[in-house]
């Protein structure tokens, strides 16, 4: 039995825990517990991505899902109640129908996908193999996806980072995350002014 079989069993364990967390998120009424569980869900799914050898996705999931969105959800909880309303006796059959139809469509699409490891699949036949063969010589990064993202398309990624940073900056300026800090800033400014006056006196 080689190690891919063993990691496959670990995948099953992770997926079982993901299922349990998903059901708990649906069932629990305590919103704080739900926020905690979404963080745990992100951690688990990122661990699963690692076992699927999608390290870059796992990085993003861990940083965004488990880190930032937990904090954002806690901030959102400040604006709302601590307990969610119990779902009424009325069932949402239309929503269930949409979900079932989407899931059935996904299952219907599975046979059209290329077999795992198929040498003639689109991922393995066009420019992908070129990246696979030239990455060790040109970039020397062990993960090819990381090499493409951070080196071959480095300017692209840099531009995305700048856009996201600008967006975050704009949101912060508009929503005023700095309101609590204004007094301190004023104090700091006053302190600076006093210091400047002192140095002027000395001069």
């Amino acid at each position: 039995m080689d190690h891919t079989d063993l990691t496959q069993y670990l995948d099953y364990v992770l997926i079982a825990m993901l299922l349990a967390v998903g059901f708990a998120i649906v069932r629990l009424r305590n919103l704080f517990a739900v926020v905690m569980l979404t963080g745990v869900y992100s951690l688990l799914s990122a661990a699963w991505f690692v076992s699927l050898d999608a390290v870059d996705v796992a990085f993003t999931e861990a940083a965004v899902g488990a880190g930032i969105s937990t904090v954002l959800m806690l901030g959102a909880m400040l604006l709302t109640a601590r307990e969610s309303e119990p779902a009424g006796a009325k069932r949402h059959w239309a929503a269930l129908a949409v979900v079932v139809a989407a899931g059935a469509a996904l299952f219907f699409a599975i046979p059209d996908m290329p077999v795992y490891g198929d040498p003639n699949s689109p991922a393995n036949s066009y420019v992908g193999m070129d990246y696979m063969s030239s990455t060790p010589n040109e970039i020397a990064v062990p993960n090819v996806v990381t090499a493409v993202l951070a080196s071959y398309r480095g300017y692209d990624t840099f531009g995305e980072t700048v856009v996201i940073f600008t967006a975050a900056l704009g949101v912060m300026l508009l929503l005023g995350f700095g309101t609590g800090r204004r007094e301190d800033d004023d104090d700091a400014a006053a302190g600076k002014a006093a210091k400047a006056a002192k140095t002027e006196d000395k001069a």
Binding site: L6, M17, M36, G75
Partner: protein, 105 residues
């Protein structure tokens, strides 16, 4: 050796499952905070054992990132419950409290 690692991974997964049970049931907030923090630590261990089984060293980077994020998230959660706000940095909050003399209360 691979089997030993696999058994260790299963043991860590069992510990994760126990933490999940505490997270589902946990009557107080602090049970849940501790369960999440401990769950994060066990995810780090799980990833390390996993990288040993699969022979992928890059999983160790993810494990380090998890450890960092786990720390920051726990601080954020605890700060949320201490101050009911995420707006003000911890250092500024304590400075303001010291200025207001609230620490004597």
């Amino acid at each position: 050796m691979e089997w030993v690692n696999f058994v260790i991974a299963l043991g860590v997964a069992a510990a994760m499952a126990i933490m999940l049970a505490r997270l589902f049931a946990g009557p107080t907030l602090y049970d849940r905070v501790l369960a999440v923090n401990s769950f994060g630590t066990k995810t780090v261990l799980f990833l390390l054992v996993f990288s040993a089984i699969a022979g992928r060293q890059d999983a160790i980077d993810i494990a380090i990132l998890y450890a960092l994020i786990n720390f920051v998230a726990t601080i954020a959660i605890l700060k949320f419950f201490r101050y009911r706000s995420l707006e003000i940095a911890l250092a500024q909050m304590s400075l303001r409290k010291a200025l207001d003399g609230e620490y004597e209360k």
